[in-house]
């Protein structure tokens, strides 16, 4: 109930589009963090199982992290256009 009140007050002050853009960027950050966290954890597990393939796993982990971060930054760029 109080969350809705706070959101309505903010939308009155700065306008609904600024609120929408801010929420969008926050959601993009959360989802990027979650996705890259999953990649990191499975990479750690893989390295723990087979330490001699550590550098192969590390290379693929960095590539996947860069691709996911690309998607999150698409969201940031689009929200920047809204603002």
């Amino acid at each position: 109930m109080t969350l809705l009140t706070v959101l309505l007050q903010v939308s009155n002050a700065v306008g609904l589009e600024t609120l929408g853009a801010a929420l969008g960027i926050g959601l993009a950050a959360i989802s990027a963090g979650y996705g890259i966290g999953k990649i990191g954890s499975s990479a750690m597990e893989g390295i723990a199982r087979q330490p001699e393939s550590a550098s192969d796993i590390r290379t693929n982990m960095i590539i996947s992290a860069a691709l996911i971060e690309g998607v999150a930054l698409f969201a940031v760029v689009v929200c920047g256009f809204i603002l």
Binding site: T59, I62, I63, A66, L67, E69, G70, L73, F74, V76, V77
Partner: protein, 240 residues
């Protein structure tokens, strides 16, 4: 039409000249003495170029990688040198070249042209008449339309990924630096505190930006190499 030199154009010219100078000196040294093992900066550049060649280009493009290696190596070093020069605050550096969507659009268009002008027949057949049930392609070409959209979104994603990563890094550094000037009117102790915090965070973000500079150049080149490799698969090599 206004063709006067902007800061980005001057920085582009400077980084292009720097890149030409570095690569031509490596090439000249290797042409004179191909079998001698190089020392110093030339040896470092040779090792770097061979690492990119063997780890990204050769596995991803396939058997005719030598034809596309010049383009891919140019793209990698262009993006890497421009990213690094954007991090230096003194004069010819510090201009946000790769964080400019026009520059990344040109790079993505170059990849698009190289991939599609060199596509094999099997590649085009897979796009325009893929092996799917006939109702997906005959009266209304659904799958071909989806494949053509996919053809356009891949370079678009390359463009936006590089642009957003580099621009976001520069924006964070700008925001942290401007924090010092915003807190001037709040009194000198708050200003001093925020200056220390801002400088420490900016240095930390600059380290992260070094990593991002290399990773973004690597990912752009890797994805371009993978697209070229996928376009060059001939009919006999396709998995059934």
């Amino acid at each position: 039409m206004d063709l006067s030199l902007t800061k980005n154009a001057v920085s582009l010219l400077f980084s292009s000249l720097l890149l030409i100078f570095i690569i031509m000196s490596v090439a000249r040294s290797l042409n004179r003495n191909p079998m001698e093992s190089k020392k110093g900066f030339i040896g470092l550049m040779e090792m770097f170029i061979m690492t990119i060649n063997d780890d990204i280009i050769k596995p991803s493009v396939g058997k005719d990688y030598k034809r596309f290696a010049p383009f891919l190596l140019t793209v990698f070093f262009f993006i890497f040198v421009n990213n690094l020069l954007g991090l230096i605050p003194l004069f010819p550096g510090g201009a946000n070249v790769t964080g400019n969507i026009a520059v990344t659009m040109v790079l993505a268009v170059a990849t698009f042209l190289v991939v599609n002008l060199n596509g094999s027949k099997a590649y085009y057949i897979d796009i325009l008449w893929p092996e799917v049930p006939t109702w997906l392609k005959a009266p209304i070409p659904l799958m071909p339309a989806i494949e053509i959209v996919g053809l356009l979104t891949k370079p678009f994603a390359l463009m936006v990924r590089l642009f957003a990563n580099i621009m976001a890094g520069h924006s964070i550094v700008l925001g942290l630096t401007v924090l010092i000037f915003i807190t001037v009117s709040l009194g000198s102790s708050i200003n001093a505190g925020m200056t220390i915090v801002s400088v420490i965070f900016t240095v930390f973000i600059d380290f992260v930006e070094l990593l991002i500079a290399y990773i973004q150049a690597y990912v752009f080149t890797l994805l371009s190499a993978v697209f070229i490799g996928q376009a060059r698969v001939s009919h006999s090599e396709k998995p059934i």
